[in-house]
Amino acid sequence: MTAVSSTELSRSRRDSKPRLRRSSPWTALAFLAPFLVIFTVFVIVPVASAVWASLHRWSLGLPGTPWVGGANYAELFAGSTVMSVEFWKGMKATGIFTALSAPLLITLPLGLAMLLHRRFPGRTFFRALYFAPYVLGVAVIGLLWRYLLDRQLGPVNQILGIDVAWTTTLPAGWVSLVVATLWWTIGFNSVIYLAALQDVPKELYEAATVDGAGPLRRFTAITVPGITRVLQFVVAITIIASANMYGQSALITQEQPGSDTRTAIGYIAETGIQGFDIGASSAMSMILAVTLMLLSGIVVLGFRKLGGNDR
């Protein structure tokens, strides 16, 4: 996320100066052309049209698309229509899921990575094993957990001898979604942490051990600062990924009970693509997007405050 630091930009500018004279701008543009075509049509135009659409009343296929200014936003914020109520319910569902799953998806994989960071036979095997659910994809995971958690036929209730409606009641529904997501993606974050841990110089641990630092002290004084950049990356992508959750609630809880586990993005898709209401759904997208950008900003600032050195 924090991909190119400013020092780097200036370095590459300086480095490449002598060669730049030799290539014509057309060469650069030719190399850029495939990217620019797709970038224009599928990045620039969409951002512009999302803003444009959110300022119009627009029902796909109907002739009129009158300009309404901020009315779509005003209606959503006023909370006086069913659509606004349902949208904020979706935002709340997204928020609940993110708040429940992101902390676990940030901390547990770090523990797993530290476990796998040790040297023991079959380490590669275990690493692959824990990562394997990720490659199965959300649909397989959704079907599988729908089965595991079925109230009557599911092994979870049968093995534990309990009767919990995992997919149709709250808060059990949230537990289901979080556990399934954890099982599915824990390996993904773990391998990122693992690579970061391997980049932390061993000498630091040796020195700390010599100085008498215990495991906890070594963790807070060496491990965490050593992986700050990756930690920030993981925090950012995990929050974004959790906030974009859709497949699990579509397949596992099927948005039940009622529509309580329907996420904001699910409602946006329903409103815009099923209900053809492009104007309102675009305004919803903008609100969710701005929320996520603010959240990402807070993460970045938070890490800066924590003294995360930008390498």
Binding site: L29, A30, V37, P63, G258
Partner: protein, 439 residues
């Protein structure tokens, strides 16, 4: 991927401009998305289609027990028409209505579809469907043979878009054994009969004999019986929050409050099948399901009882429609017309799907008269059938207004009056929006 390849031609200004041009072209397309062009009415074409083999796509929402019946009709049509191959796709109704407009626009949708009567305006206004007035006139289909209410409701803004295949109304199902042993053989006829039957069943050991789900069709039925309606006939004013609406929804909630039904019911068929309940309010789609999955249960079906002061029952109808895609050339249009006409006239196998054929000539067959749903096909029912009016975006509006209110009140314990007032306000706002966008 090797480094040994012939030297590539240096990127020239021309290549770049070419690429840039195509990018601009793509980009220029984007902002023009939106209103399609108005559809020309389908023209009538003489006789059955013969000629080069045509392949037609036929979408319908028959994913349940009615699917095989429709598949049989399509197979029969294909067998009788060597020049036409109809490919049937059954989609979950919500999916179908989501996909049909963009799919038809892209030319990868259906040529012919079955849509619910209340969906015609939605897709007519969006130019997905073509008017059928000339076709029905040419075919000599003038509504004479059809249930009048179903036929008359297939018109939006003066143009006909649907040819009814069937109609279906809210019904009551009862377990004959349970009611007989309670001493109140069915059917339940009115509010008093209902109270007596429930009391008898309860004292006979069945604590919760009638499970009430958040069924909006049940709500519309009761709404009509209490003298209300969802909208004015022009589809410009929402009226669901009326006193009648509150009475209708309160009646449903009352069954839960009085313990006749448990709360939180989403699937009332299962308890009916396994004897936990003895009465069921459901559509005729339950008929093939009960026959298939509860073969040992003895049950009967009849029109839903008159709970309110006047008769009334929710009604809807599956309709044949032709999409803009079917009019891509004369042959496809002719073949599509042939299919609709033939299946409509030969709709007897549809009886197995549990619904009532829209054509009187099919209802007069012995096959229909001996079917369970024959009990629902009375003139009395047809006269008081409450169809939903033709409103573009009706399902969206319904989902955001009265359907949601029924769910909130029945499942979520929200006060019926408050739920309906909010629903009416929302429906009114959305009606105003739609009418504004229609221009």
């Amino acid at each position: 991927m090797s480094a040994r390849r012939r030297p590539a031609t240096p990127a020239s200004r021309r290549t770049f401009l070419g690429l840039l041009g195509s990018s601009a072209l793509l980009a220029a397309c984007a902002p023009s998305i939106g209103a399609g062009t108005a559809q020309e009415p389908a023209r009538y074409r003489e006789g059955e289609y013969t000629g080069p083999r045509q392949r037609l796509q036929f979408w319908n929402p028959f994913t349940g027990g009615d699917g095989p019946a429709m598949a049989a009709m399509v197979d029969a049509f294909n067998a009788a028409h060597p020049d036409i191959e109809v490919v049937m796709t059954s989609l979950v109704a919500d999916d179908m209505y989501t996909k049909v407009m963009p799919a038809v626009g892209a030319g990868v949708g259906p040529d012919i579809a079955i849509m619910h009567l209340d969906q015609l305006a939605t897709f007519a206004a969006r130019n997905t469907l073509v008017p059928l007035d000339e076709v029905v006139e040419g075919l000599g289909v003038d509504g004479e043979d059809f249930v009048p209410a179903a036929w008359d409701n297939g018109v939006y803004r003066g143009a006909r878009y649907g040819i009814p295949l069937d109609l279906f109304t809210m019904a009551q199902y009862w377990s004959t054994d349970a009611l007989a042993s309670a001493g109140t053989p069915g059917p339940v006829l009115d509010a008093r009969g209902y109270t007596e039957t429930v009391a008898a069943l309860q004292s006979n050991g069945l604590a919760q004999p009638f499970w009430v789900p958040p069924s909006w069709q049940l709500f519309v039925t009761l709404l009509a019986q209490f003298g209300g309606r969802l909208y004015n006939p022009e589809g410009t004013v929402a009226e669901m929050g009326s006193e009648a609406g509150v009475q209708a929804l309160s009646w449903m909630v009352e069954q839960i409050d009085r313990g006749v039904s448990p709360g939180g019911v989403t699937d009332p068929r299962t308890p009916f099948k396994n004897g936990t309940a003895a009465l069921l309010a459901d559509l005729p789609a339950a008929i093939p399901d009960l026959q298939l999955t509860a073969p040992d249960l003895e049950w009967r079906v009849a029109p839903f009882p008159q709970i309110g002061p006047q008769p009334g029952v929710f009604a809807n109808s599956h309709n044949f429609v032709l999409t803009g895609q079917s009019q891509r050339d004369a042959d496809a249009a002719h073949a599509s017309q042939t299919f609709v006409d033939w299946v409509s006239r030969n709709s007897a196998p549809w009886i197995a799907g549990g619904n009532t054929p829209a054509r009187a000539s099919v209802r007069e067959t012995e096959e229909f008269r001996s079917s369970p749903q024959a009990a629902l096909a009375t003139e009395g029912v047809f006269e008081v059938a409450a169809f939903l009016p033709q409103i573009p975006g009706s399902r969206e509006i319904a989902g955001n207004s009265f359907q949601r209110a029924v769910g909130e009140a029945v499942l979520g314990g929200v006060d019926p009056a408050a739920a309906l007032a909010f629903a009416q306000e929302t429906a009114q706002a959305e009606l105003d929006d739609v009418n504004e966008l229609l221009g």
